[in-house]
């Protein structure tokens, strides 16, 4: 295997809240290879966004970050990100308006992004900005580049941010829930724009989402996070077909099936709720909700270890005992 483009090792992000240390990311490791799409999935509080911000060197104020983040072997943790941002690594946030200025035109902002990393003439930078907008499917890009962000629809703004992230042809793009705020139809267009821009530039992508259907359609590999740790990772196909962590299995089982069963209106559901990061269970964080949990699950937190297909890893004491499909493990009761 060649050296990974991005290697994250034993990442910890600890926040301060109400005088307590809140362990939000707890020893996360993953790799991203060249041109690869890796999805980070998990629900709110799982630590996905904090992971993105830590990898990007932009942790929230007061957060303590430890571990290693290497880009092509070069350690970034504690180092300057100058020359990395924009040129080698770029960010697409959930809300485009957090990165677009309301007082400059979209074209001016992307042009400025070009000139911030390369000495190019204004015209040259401008034409690259227009080409970038064109690549994400903005029709009549030269004219639209003269518009302000508020004159764009939500989907167009998100595509403009993707254009801006991609314009300097970074090696890695980190997109944090880039379509959560959008309609499903617009979501599909934005994800297509992201895929097209990625194809054209050869960038690798870390796609943060809570939507497993987006993962299935767009990612090569997936890292499933729960309570600040990876509970499962691997190539998308085997993880979806035969998950080795009960949490992954529960998430997949609770999706409405593509083929509608004419009789059964019940969805398998995971009882309970994710733990609070300030009151984590002693052992496996999922044990209180897990239908397979035994005593040792409550005593000892399992480590991520090979399970299932090649490349698949799971953090579960009982990963070998998980049936396929695991649908029957989860309750179809009305209430939890």
């Amino acid at each position: 295997m060649p050296e990974p483009l991005l290697a994250v090792r034993d990442l910890h992000v600890t926040l301060r809240g109400g005088g307590h240390a809140v362990p939000a990311v707890r020893g996360l490791s993953f790799e991203v290879h060249q041109r690869e799409v890796v999805a980070l999935v998990g629900e709110s509080g799982a630590g996905k966004s904090l992971t993105a911000r830590a990898v990007l060197g932009m942790p929230p104020h007061g957060a303590r970050v430890t571990g290693s983040v290497r880009l092509r072997g070069r350690e970034l943790m504690g180092e300057s990100y100058a020359g990395v941002w924009g040129r080698r690594m770029a960010f697409v946030p959930q809300d485009a308006l957090t990165v677009l200025s309301p007082v400059h035109t979209v074209g001016d902002q992307i042009t400025a992004a070009v000139r911030s990393v390369a000495k190019t003439s204004r015209q040259e930078a401008r034409s690259r900005a227009v080409a970038a907008l064109d690549r994400v499917g903005i029709a009549d890009a030269a004219r639209r580049a003269r518009a302000y962000p508020h004159e764009f629809s939500g989907g167009m703004r998100q595509r403009a941010v993707i254009a801006m992230a991609m314009v300097n042809e970074p090696e890695l793009v980190i997109a944090d829930e880039p379509t959560t705020a959008l309609d499903p139809a617009i979501e599909a267009q934005v994800l297509e724009a992201l895929a097209a821009a990625r194809e054209a530039t050869g960038a690798a992508l870390v796609l943060i989402t809570h939507d497993l259907r987006i993962v299935a359609r767009h990612a090569d590999r997936v890292v499933v996070m729960y309570a600040g740790r990876a509970v499962e990772s691997g190539p998308v196909e085997p993880v979806f077909r035969a998950p080795r962590a009960p949490y992954t299995a529960g998430l997949i089982a609770s999706l409405p099936p593509a083929e509608v069963d004419a009789v059964d209106r019940w969805l398998p559901s995971i009882d309970g709720a994710p733990p609070s990061p300030t009151h984590l269970p002693r052992g496996c964080a999922f044990a209180p909700r897990c239908p397979l949990a035994r005593q040792n699950c409550e005593d000892e937190e399992p480590a991520l270890a090979p399970a299932g297909e090649p490349g698949q890893l799971a953090a579960c004491h009982r990963s070998t005992e998980l049936p396929v499909p695991a649908t029957g493990l989860f309750s179809r009761k009305a209430t939890a």
Binding site: E43, L251, S269, A273, T335, A336
Partner: protein
């Protein structure tokens, strides 16, 4: 077939000169779920608000259990309101941050000057799958899924016939979504509740609803059985 529980005819809702809902008609029977789908701004939520008599329509009729709601004053609506109740998207935003869960559930009954009978709040909590020990907690001490169950318990307090569910699970974590939907399904089967269900997630709509009305630019452009809904039905997007 029996009379519909809710019959909306030629409903028009305007905001100033903008027509948000343009001659929309549909009906819902007891025990049935009608989903309203369509892109943002197509008039789904305005239709829901007018159905709940929370927004006065510019035209048309909303008949619920035989009562014409559109011309009624708030005083006349008040005794009918417990029969049609909303459940909104944001589980925290729908609850007063300073009311204990027990009081939040009892509030709609008190507002009707029908203080809850002994044990009624506990029964409601059990119905929606909430541990009764949570009664003394405040909303911020509950998870999103638990708060949404409180919202459902509140709506059930007045023994409704119709719930208007505006994106009831889209703000919830994926692992708790299915549990809340199963609860709504069970309530429907037990009590014959009718649901007007607004949702962006077509796979969910197809699973949960009986019929689907597709809205575009203020109009219903298509109504069909949910199982015949194509998951790419909205791919043409808004105009």
């Amino acid at each position: 077939m029996s009379d519909p529980l809710l019959k909306v005819t030629d409903l028009v809702v305007r905001y100033g000169r903008h027509t948000a809902v343009d001659r929309v008609s549909f009906e819902i029977h007891a025990g049935e779920t009608l989903a309203l789908i369509g892109p943002s701004g197509c008039g789904k939520s305005s239709t829901a608000l007018a159905t709940l008599a929370l927004r006065r329509p510019a035209g048309g009729s909303v008949r619920f259990e035989g009562h014409e709601l559109t011309g009624l004053r708030e005083r006349e609506l008040r005794p009918l309101r417990p029969r049609f109740q909303p459940v909104f998207q944001d589980p925290y935003g729908s609850l007063s941050p300073r009311l204990r869960i027990r009081d939040a559930i009892a509030e709609p009954l008190r507002a009707q000057r029908r203080p809850p009978a002994t044990g009624q709040v506990e029964t409601l909590m059990e119905t929606v799958g909430l541990d009764t020990s949570l009664g003394d907690r405040l909303p911020h001490e509950l998870s999103g899924g638990q708060c949404q169950r409180v919202g459902i318990a509140r709506a059930l307090a007045g023994e409704p016939r119709l719930l208007v569910l505006d994106e009831p699970v889209s703000a919830l974590d994926p692992s708790v979504r299915a549990g809340v939907l199963n609860l709504l399904t069970a309530l429907q089967e037990d009590r014959g509740l009718a649901y007007l269900f607004i949702c962006h997630d077509l796979a969910l709509v197809r699973h949960f609803a009986h019929r689907v009305a597709v809205m575009r630019q203020g109009r219903i452009v298509d109504t069909r059985p949910a199982r015949e809904l194509s998951l790419t039905a909205l791919d043409s997007g808004p105009a």
